[in-house]
Symmetry: C2
Subunit: 991 residues, 2 copies
Amino acid sequence: ELDIRPKVSSLLSRLVNYTNITQGAKEHEEEESAESPNMGTLMGVYLPCLQNIFGVILFLRLTWIVGTAGIVQSLLIVLMCCSCTMLTAISMSAIATNGVVPAGGAYFMISRSLGPEFGGAVGLCFYLGTTFAAAMYILGAIEIFLKYLVPQGTMTIFHATDPHGGDSAMLNNMRVYGSLCLSLMAVVVFVGVKYVNKLASLFLACVIISIVSIYAGAIKSITHPPEFPICMLGNRTLVRDFDVCAKTVVQGNYTVPSNLSEKFCPLGNMSSAQCDEYFSQNNVTEVQGIPGLASGIIRENMWGDYLQKGEILEKAGLQSVDVHGAMENFAMYVSADIATSFTLLVGIFFPSATGIMAGSNRSGDLRDAQKSIPVGTILAITTTSLVCILFGDAVSNNLVVGTLSWPSPWVIVIGSFFSTVGAGLQSLTGAPRLLQAIAKDNIIPFLRVFGHGKANGEPTWALLLTGLIAELGILIASLDMVAPILSMFFLMCYLFVNLACAVQTLLRTPNWRPRFKYYHWALSFLGMSMCLALMFISSWYYAIVAMGIAGMIYKYIEYQGAEKEWGDGIRGLSLSAARYALLRLEVGPPHTKNWRPQLLVLLKLDEDLHVKYPRLLTFASQLKAGKGLTIVGSVIQGNFLDSYGETQAAEQAIKNMMEIERVKGFCQVVVASKVREGIAHLIQSCGLGGMKHNTVVMGWPYGWRQSEDPRAWKTFINTVRCTTAAHLALMVPKNVSFYPSNHERFTDGNIDVWWIVHDGGMLMLLPFLLKQHKVWRKCKMRIFTVAQMDDNSIQMKKDLATFLYQLRIEAEVEVVEMVRYDISAYTYERTLMMEQRSQMLRQMRLSSAERDREAQLVKDRHSLIRMGSLYSDEEEEVAEPPPEKVQMTWTKEKCEAERRNRNNTPENFRELISLKPDQSNVRRMHTAVKLNEVIVNRSHDARLVLLNMPGPPRNTDGDENYMEFLEVLTEGLERVLLVRGGGREVITIYS
Amino acid sequence: ELDIRPKVSSLLSRLVNYTNITQGAKEHEEEESAESPNMGTLMGVYLPCLQNIFGVILFLRLTWIVGTAGIVQSLLIVLMCCSCTMLTAISMSAIATNGVVPAGGAYFMISRSLGPEFGGAVGLCFYLGTTFAAAMYILGAIEIFLKYLVPQGTMTIFHATDPHGGDSAMLNNMRVYGSLCLSLMAVVVFVGVKYVNKLASLFLACVIISIVSIYAGAIKSITHPPEFPICMLGNRTLVRDFDVCAKTVVQGNYTVPSNLSEKFCPLGNMSSAQCDEYFSQNNVTEVQGIPGLASGIIRENMWGDYLQKGEILEKAGLQSVDVHGAMENFAMYVSADIATSFTLLVGIFFPSATGIMAGSNRSGDLRDAQKSIPVGTILAITTTSLVCILFGDAVSNNLVVGTLSWPSPWVIVIGSFFSTVGAGLQSLTGAPRLLQAIAKDNIIPFLRVFGHGKANGEPTWALLLTGLIAELGILIASLDMVAPILSMFFLMCYLFVNLACAVQTLLRTPNWRPRFKYYHWALSFLGMSMCLALMFISSWYYAIVAMGIAGMIYKYIEYQGAEKEWGDGIRGLSLSAARYALLRLEVGPPHTKNWRPQLLVLLKLDEDLHVKYPRLLTFASQLKAGKGLTIVGSVIQGNFLDSYGETQAAEQAIKNMMEIERVKGFCQVVVASKVREGIAHLIQSCGLGGMKHNTVVMGWPYGWRQSEDPRAWKTFINTVRCTTAAHLALMVPKNVSFYPSNHERFTDGNIDVWWIVHDGGMLMLLPFLLKQHKVWRKCKMRIFTVAQMDDNSIQMKKDLATFLYQLRIEAEVEVVEMVRYDISAYTYERTLMMEQRSQMLRQMRLSSAERDREAQLVKDRHSLIRMGSLYSDEEEEVAEPPPEKVQMTWTKEKCEAERRNRNNTPENFRELISLKPDQSNVRRMHTAVKLNEVIVNRSHDARLVLLNMPGPPRNTDGDENYMEFLEVLTEGLERVLLVRGGGREVITIYS
């Protein structure tokens, strides 16, 4: 105790000393960043975020997006993506400031706060996202290189053989160059990751210069629009591979058909018959491609104009005559290369907003991560959002943004190329390290191999896998196809970040005390919804696939049983769910139609804390077939203050046995000074709220006759009384060791129900439930009922069959007639034996001091007469034979012979022989013997016999006789289940 | 006991006698059907289903659907709808055969098996669906009447004023006639519902004749296509309001422009300049409208051709010259009157498949509902599905199906009219009765008024409401707009039927024993998914609205707290959820970061079973702020067998108090022969699985000093020992009556923590948790720690501040230096008083028989010396003053004066005065007094003082001294919370 409660001052110095060397920091720290653990907000978070956010999408696609979707919808896209990342940044700031942040970024934050399952899923999503991002950056770089940096066509390997094949040739070029570029970059990363980091600021400079240049150009274009003429035929834009934009040119003094006309009129002359019909009916005009901001272009482009693949770009406002069904020269027009739609554009744009994790990924290198991450990330998002929105406003036509830049288009082309290459290199550096970190955590066993690094710390295998996955992305070849894929993975990741924040806020986890105060669960929830919405908006099938992948990873990690000591935020969720469900259940007792046995199985443990009768558990598992509540209780005799360890050991033993017997449930071991009291307490206080047991299962006290210690059966009868007092049902499987194990299968045989008194219908329900289990499935159910003299047994059988039909229970019905047999000598003898035995034992037990209470005892015994027959007073009246009948079969001679046999009893018990059996006991015994006769006769080969259990006598003096009656009743039967109802109906004919 | 366990024979006859008069049957039985409670499968289920399934949609829309969607997609639509209803029928059959079915149809089945909330929601959906169906049938009837039955235009009220307004004029006609028709029908229903039922078979005959007629016509058309010429201009179908289908007619010898030409050429002459351009460029042809099955029409119509609203119907295969941008004469062409799409057509077709409930609605009138409903319904669906599919194959053009019929078109027009009117009447009869049934169940209070009937049993108010809602549908006026609405409501209903079946199968409710065996949860689940899919396919916004309505009804009924004794199938769901969550929680102890206090509040009850200190509950509710587990436990002294009623009463009293104090949690009252044992059992066995308490809250035993009965504090100390043994934390609020109620708000003040020993961090966590509650929100937290002589208090303060920063807890930090004060006379005196008192009491208690144990007792007391100081051995060493110091301030004079004061004590206690106080007790008392001095000095005005609670002495003889130490420690403080950790860390700096 003294160790765990240290003095404050010594504790404090200990705590402060290891604050900076965090749990996982050491092993996950990356070697190359070890030299700079003191980066500030600007260098550590703001600029990396900025660099990641600006990138290939911004340069290559934003103008196209604005041109296609129109200004309003483009703004919407940008706003959606940016607000999504903004909300995620807020959630992430809260998570990052909730405790000491280990190095390793989003993966570490989430896995440590939501547990390994979510952490693993998010981590892999993030890894895949980063890997595909690398592919995207490489494709972007190649696109810039092939289209703008080198002269058109000089570097292409594949050339379009037919005019329609231009696309696929280009894609093949991309594939070849992309793969080359990827290999090159992988080698660079493998050899010298340090240089990559050194170049980062150079790349960043490129980005910033490019953006400034575009702005400058845009401002200049207001007054001096750059020359970018476009040739239009009717309202269609023509692909520029001719010289003059006119139908005819004046050559010398002649007006001859222009280069353009020749392309439309195959025969060279301009007679309209041979020319393309659209060409002849429409005029050729030249318009200004970049009209400048002042020219009303903004109004014109306010609304979008989505195109189907191959649809021809038409400019609204120009007149055109439509010609239908005729041959047309499609290759001449500028047409859409992919089908566009709002949703697709969202998916393509989103990757440009995915840089927000860049800062938190560097958490290990930051001086004060908890301060820098929120400030830097949120500032960066604000900056870039502003840039995007302004940008979107400024440039709005379907043209290369480069022509707009100032002072020279080359600035932006080279700038964007370097920026893209840099981003690709960074992704390719980061992804393997993330994979290595996940692999080192060892939550996903098959990733273990990627945890090893080379001598220089480079994660070789991880880099190889990353390269392979990125190659997949490059083989897709189209930037517009890769972008939505990585959007998905990033969005999944963001979704989980928001989820983690929202869940912890809502559950009020005590450990959730972020220093960043400006979060709110509603914001996180909104962010989560936006992520989900964006996923489904941009591509619902990708979204489903991504969620499927994440779900599979989650389940896999759960299945592998990751027992990381990170704790998991979801535990609070389980707790809340359990509490809510329990409170909901508590409202009232269930309706009869919802009644199901909720078992409290009372187990006896031997001295070594082993379960004495494990078949009780087997029976319970067969009865439940895996559903509903099972509590297994046991009592250890002793003092609780000293027995904590013993309790734990016993609980573990029971739990192991429960696992073996496949019982899903709870275990409760209590220490009590008396076993009887412990059981009474278990019966009273097990369960919680609506999850209370309604049925007690206990074993039969075998060998109670042999034992001189009356506690064995006193405890049993006391438990029976307790269950009755608590209005619980009771099941006592007798000869439980003969009950089938879970592996046996009965292929035939019967389950016999002896329905003597109606006790709430338990007898009918139990065989039905047992038959749900494989062991009993093939058994048939038979119901026997006993008709007495005044019953119409034919009518009874018919009634019973109807009743069972209404209950929807299939069973054979039999009515057994019990004629009023004479009470036989055997019965008489049994009763006598029983009473003598009781008397004998009682005398043995009576100490001299207690003899004076004997008188009272004898008086009480006479009250037994009023107890009636075995089950109830009603039956007693029926079964009561005229007193003289007893005498008829009980002859004097027999009695004498009996006495003679008993003469060899010890001296002091001689008086016992003079006892005459108690009348009511004889009657009860008579019923028991007769009933047992009938049952054995009919059900001796049954797999299981279910029987009403008579209630215990009200007066405790009859206890021993009660035990004897039960023994007689069940004599000669292999497996008997004694059942006593809890005083309520448990089965109903109504739906 | 005898009453609840009747004899089998008497029970049986009782059960069988009331089997046929079911629970709700009597009150819900409809008067007009009382005469025929013995309908068979054919008349009772099959034909009503057939009649409901064939109807207006089949006649008016199926051909149009096939024409629009093409044969393949139409087949798909029909298949989807039919398989959805088929699966629902299977689920419904299972529900219907699970017990005695009361009269009243789907509503009764679902409300009785899933509970009132679902039942109410489904019932109202079904009611709304039926009501809108009435509107749809009326609209259909009017459409047939106006379009086909009377000559075109003779009966119309509104006429199209301009060529484009034809639509809206027609709609207005529909509105007027529909309203008239509705009023008429409502009157018919109101006056003579019997005649409606009589006419049912007549209407059914109409349906069957019509279908037969169509088939006959279709077969005839194979060889003799009926004459139905259609005039085409180019590939556009012309509206037929001219005479000859040609551009010119030969009149006498002249070729003059035809009637048709005049419509296209406004000036009457056919010079192409004034004529419509499309007209002049295309030819006029006449084609056969119904080409017969043999003409290849099937291949041509295989694929659909969806149109936008106003788009012109074009026939593929005919040549046309397209003219763009020019004036066109749109009114002349047959154009689509609404935009069509696959999804819309699904919504329009679905109502024709909604008749499946017709059979089960009649459950009250059936001889053997459990047999007839499955057989009849499933047969009817099979029949109609076949008809629909064949039908769909046979007729496939956008024309009136009537022209195809044989022998005369009038057969089908009149047949369909009567069939539609009949279906409308039936809906209008059924809906008010359903509403009445729901209202009579009284689960939706505001519907109560609709439960009353008129003298003749007609539900007048319900009929009125139904009429009003149907009028809404009629005001929509378009069949194609109303159909999706009712589809939604019916689909909702089907969805719940499938849900009910799937849930009950999966949960293995014992009462779920349908006699119909051919169900499977996977089928029901598939059906449910199809319903959901169809809802969203046909119209996602309607679907959301319908689900919103159903959800609102559900929540409303839940809020109203319907306590129907139907039981609910969802209870099993809660049970499963709770069990799953609890099992999930059980895996291990939670991680430190997930630790949250799970309270076991021990309450004392007075003789009247009232809670003695309800403020304990207030405190618990403030600490939890509504989250996590709270178990409230109490012990009643007595014998469990006799105290069941008392337990229930006590539990109710505690639950009431919990509700008042807004503690959400569970209550557990146990009966035990000794309170101490009961508490030990509560501490051991409360909670279930992972929902175990980890903290015990108990009151202070006020007045233990005054009480001669040592049980008061013995129980207290024993509980402290038990919590320690069970590794639980302990909280003892002292002066709990001064604690704030939930309505108070502290606007300022401090919560002071005196962090003397580190005990797992509870002291830091508790103020944070309290501050989450409104009462304590404005309080500031201060942490005091005690520096002793060898501590560097400046460094300590700095360390503590850093530690709290890492913990993200805002608190003022103070380090109090405790110099080694001399032990004062006061201390000495207090110790002496304490020991004397103990001794005195002990002597009083010692009976003559126990005196011999005195020697042992005295010997044990000396072991107290080894106990050390107040908190731990460590502290004892530090705080231990040199023995001689005691003597320094404790002068002989003082001692004498003390003795003199005590001289007036009774004779037999004179010897006590000679006692010298125990050394270790003096030291402990010294620490306690000094600490108390410092605490009172600094925290006398604090709102709450949190303090480490010292552990109880190992030896029970020191118990009384321990109580005294605690009293001294907390003297002079208003509200004190003594806290003892459970031996584990509960707060961490890591995220």
